[in-house]
């Protein structure tokens, strides 16, 4: 008698169930990243990375919680080679405990999931709704943006891109030549016409961003870190979305100077603060190099607001108003650690500027960096000044 056993094999190549649920899991990771963006944006690991690497971002809430024992507070059984004595060390940290049947990342003691993401992917998520506000058509157009358009015809291509109308026309033409009758029928490979994607470059207006940063002694570690974080993303954002935005970097304490990008991002100097010096320099640079008729101009300034005195505050207000005459938007970000601190005298002085193109934000916490980016780079001018 033959044994009641059978052996078979089938074609499983179309089997996709696991992959589909895995895709849903990946989607959830992305959602979680999106929800945690404010924290992730100011992760040290990202700001200090070379911009290429994959970064690991911790995501809470992706593990399905359940009633379980506390691994760290309880005792467990393991196996050695014999001769194991009390007091011997058998490992480091908390190893994966035995889960009930499922082994999926069940690491007791750690209740977050580490998702891997490249900085570019993160940037795409971040920059989805950002753009240069109030961009206007200027005399010379120098700013390139690239889009993909479906056009042009090819004889080979993907059938999803088949241009049916042109294909039928080609067929009729060929029939007319061959049989002297312009009829439709007998489509052959030579009739097929496909649309293909062609990159199209559009030229837009010129834009220059003037990034100003307070590097005076009063700027503590937190203030420096936040302004660095903000400018890190700002520069990335501008470079990703616009190929031709120029960025001018200015640092200031009591005196302002124009610096290159690398120096700008290196952590600062010390000394007193005279904010007006930076605005003065910005104005001079605009006059010398960026004709407002040809350029969209965006000055941004980050400081802790500890300015040198009322006289200088008044001067700042005056200069900001002059800058606004030539700029599309002016952004001022004040970084003050901790929730309880009141705004600075400089901020109070700025309150008298009623122009909606003057945007101020206050950053108290690492998480405020993303809202600040959104306030400065939202597509339209905000109704009132100030986010945060």
């Amino acid at each position: 008698m033959r044994a009641p056993v059978t052996l078979e094999r089938h074609d499983w190549s179309l089997h996709r169930k696991g992959a589909i649920d895995q895709a849903r899991h990946a989607e959830k990771i992305k959602e979680a990243i999106r929800e945690n963006l404010p924290q992730i944006v100011s992760e040290e690991a990202i700001i200090t990375s070379d911009g290429q690497r994959i970064v690991k971002v911790p995501i809470r809430s992706l593990e399905l919680p359940r009633f379980r024992y506390d691994f760290g507070r309880n005792r467990h059984v393991g196996q050695g080679e014999g001769e194991t004595q009390p007091g011997d060390t058998v490992g480091q940290g908390s190893p994966a405990g035995p889960g009930p049947g499922k082994q999926a990342g069940d690491q007791p003691g750690i209740d977050y999931y580490e998702a891997e993401i490249t900085i570019d992917e993160l940037a795409n998520l971040l920059f989805e709704d950002l753009q240069l506000p109030n961009l206007q058509q200027k005399v010379t157009e120098n700013l390139e943006t690239e889009t993909l358009k479906l056009k042009e015809l090819a004889r080979k291509g993907a059938f999803s891109n088949l241009d049916k109308r042109r294909t039928v026309l080609e067929n009729i033409k060929r029939n007319a030549l061959k049989h002297k009758r312009p009829v439709y029928g007998g489509i052959s490979d030579e009739d097929l016409r496909f649309k293909i994607w062609v990159p199209e470059t559009r030229r837009e207006s010129n834009a220059v961003v003037i990034a100003m940063r307070d590097v005076s002694g009063s700027m503590g570690e937190f203030e420096k870190y936040i302004s660095r974080t903000f400018y890190f993303w700002m520069v990335r954002f501008l470079r990703t979305k616009y190929t031709n935005v120029q960025i001018v970097f200015i640092t200031h304490h009591t005196e302002a100077k124009e610096v290159d990008e690398e120096t700008f991002f290196k952590l600062g100097e010390s000394g007193g603060t005279k904010v007006s010096s930076a605005y003065q320099l910005a104005l001079e640079i605009i006059q010398r190099r960026y004709d407002p008729n040809a350029w969209n101009i965006y000055p941004f300034h980050f400081s802790d607001g500890d300015n040198w005195g009322d006289a200088d505050n008044r001067r700042c207000v005056e200069l900001v108003q002059r800058l606004l005459e030539v700029s599309n938007v002016f952004g001022y970000g004040e970084i003050r650690e901790g929730p309880a601190r009141s705004t600075s005298t400089l901020m109070s002085a700025f309150q008298q500027i009623k122009d909606p193109r003057f945007i101020t934000v206050v950053i108290n916490d690492k998480r405020d960096v993303l809202p600040a980016l959104k306030a400065f780079f939202s597509p339209r001018v905000p109704e009132a000044s100030g986010a945060a």
Partner: protein, 464 residues
């Protein structure tokens, strides 16, 4: 796998079946299916082919696949408890590897058929889960994918809390009797003539006895659930009940299968190369692990020890227990039929075995894992305790109408192991989602009883 190997494998399977029969194994008929690796880890991730979709399955699949892609682990065998049984063989396995897997699988299937804890399992479970998956898919159409997913998240967070002994239970829990309405302002006037009943029959407890089956209790008594939601709870419960015997007999079942694959392969005509490959693979399966028990190793060791002690009883065993020599094999079949992991460890893990296997108890101290105990009885008792309720905290419904307010009062039956409080609090949020009213969990923290609560807005914690 090329056609020649496939044909050879087919012949080998017939041979192995004949040997297994001769040695006394009595499995269900088995259908073997040769599959590529992706399908193997997919079935491994879902537990059964064709189960409902959920992102946690996707995560398990991804995890398995990553481990495989990096060459860290490989699932050799996968067998499903059904009649006929289904087993999956990896097409990239060598012929010898698949021979070993086939022998291993036949012993598993024999175990499924004869072990007492499997007696009531559904042997058509593959069909059942397919029907379940279809129903859940329909609910997704009717109520939206996210809605169903959100609900499944909540149910799966407490899926282990079912009662496998429910079939031996008395009556289903009766719903609470409607309590008498609070006194209205003019009741005293209306009841002037006949004296008011002084005592209502004392408040009946609901449930009358603590209820271990959270899923069943919630499906039956949560007030606001829609029919489809109760159905989803019962689907998850049904599938969990199917898996529980496997969770309860991991060590015994793997030990049994390892015992037999070794003996069956010894009977097969193997070439020299195959013999070496077999020895290597057998050793890899049985390698001890530092931080938990390798069920293959522990199970096999205990079974071999039982066989030895019943084949060659010591003088004491002969005289005091009246044990006759040569009973080893028969005793093994008895153990296979009657025991589960807890009873196996409790009855047959001896001092000699604990010492021979070098078992120890360790604990997290600072950032290191330190051995704290090697005493054999303590080791044995800790293993038993950690496997009680298949490794999960034992939680019961103490009161389904707590504070006479329809609130759910759960109690963790504390046996010396504390809960992960952060996880427990988040799980309570899910229980609230299911129950629809505030939920409470009594447990022990730092050796003092505490009550964790969630009222729909915030988690609270208070000492009792």
């Amino acid at each position: 796998m090329d056609d020649r190997t496939f044909a050879e494998l087919e012949r080998a399977i017939d041979q192995i079946w004949a040997i297994a029969q001769r040695l006394g194994l009595d499995p269900f008929p088995v259908h073997f299916e040769v599959v590529p690796a992706e399908v193997m880890y997919e079935i491994g991730a879902y537990g059964l082919p064709g189960r409902f979709s959920h992102w946690t399955h996707g995560r398990a699949y991804h995890h398995q696949k990553t481990l495989y892609d990096y060459g860290l682990t490989k699932i050799y065998e996968l067998v499903i408890n059904s009649n006929p049984a289904y087993a999956f063989l990896l097409d990239s396995n060598s012929l010898l590897q698949n021979k070993l897997v086939v022998a291993h699988v036949l012993a598993h299937v024999d175990f499924f058929k004869h072990n007492a804890y499997f007696e009531h399992t559904n042997r058509q479970m593959i069909d059942t889960v397919a029907v379940n998956a279809e129903r859940i898919r329909r609910y997704e159409f009717q109520h939206g994918r996210l809605e169903v997913e959100r609900f499944l998240d909540a149910v799966l967070s407490i899926q282990e809390h079912v009662d496998p002994h429910v079939r031996f239970r008395r009556q289903p829990t009766p719903p609470p009797k409607p309590r008498s309405a609070p006194p209205a302002p003019y009741d005293d006037l209306l009841s002037l003539t006949d004296p008011p009943a002084t005592s209502e029959p004392g408040p009946t407890k609901f449930p009358p006895e603590p209820e271990k089956d959270l899923l069943l209790f919630i499906a039956e008594h949560a007030r606001h659930l829609a029919d489809w939601q109760r159905d989803v709870i019962l689907i998850v419960r049904q599938e969990m009940l199917y898996f529980i015997p496997q969770l309860q007999t991991k060590i015994l079942n793997e030990g049994w299968a390892s015992y037999w694959h070794a003996r069956i392969l010894r009977e097969l005509p193997l070439s020299d190369d195959e013999a070496v490959e077999f020895a290597r693979m057998h050793a890899a399966i049985l390698a001890p692990t530092k931080h938990h028990l390798n069920p293959y190793y522990v199970g096999l060791k205990i079974l071999e020890d039982i066989e030895r002690r019943w084949d060659h009883p010591s003088e004491e065993e002969r005289l005091v227990l009246g044990r006759q020599p040569g009973q080893g094999r028969a005793k093994l079949f008895e153990v296979r039929t009657l025991e589960n992991d807890v009873s196996l460890i409790r009855n047959y893990l001896t001092r000699d075995l604990v010492e021979e296997m070098g078992l120890y108890i360790y604990k997290v101290e600072g950032d290191q894992l330190k051995v704290v105990e090697t005493d054999w009885e303590k080791v044995r008792d800790l293993i038993v305790r950690s496997m009680t309720n298949f490794g999960n905290p034992y939680i019961v419904v103490e009161d389904g109408d707590y504070r006479r307010n329809g609130e759910l009062y759960l109690k963790h039956i504390y046996e010396g192991q504390e809960l992960d409080i952060a996880y427990a609090e988040r799980t309570l949020q899910y229980v609230y989602q299911l129950w629809g009213r505030p939920v409470h969990l009594e447990t022990v923290l730092n050796e003092k009883p505490v009550l964790l609560s969630y009222d729909g807005e915030k988690n609270t914690r208070k000492n009792l």
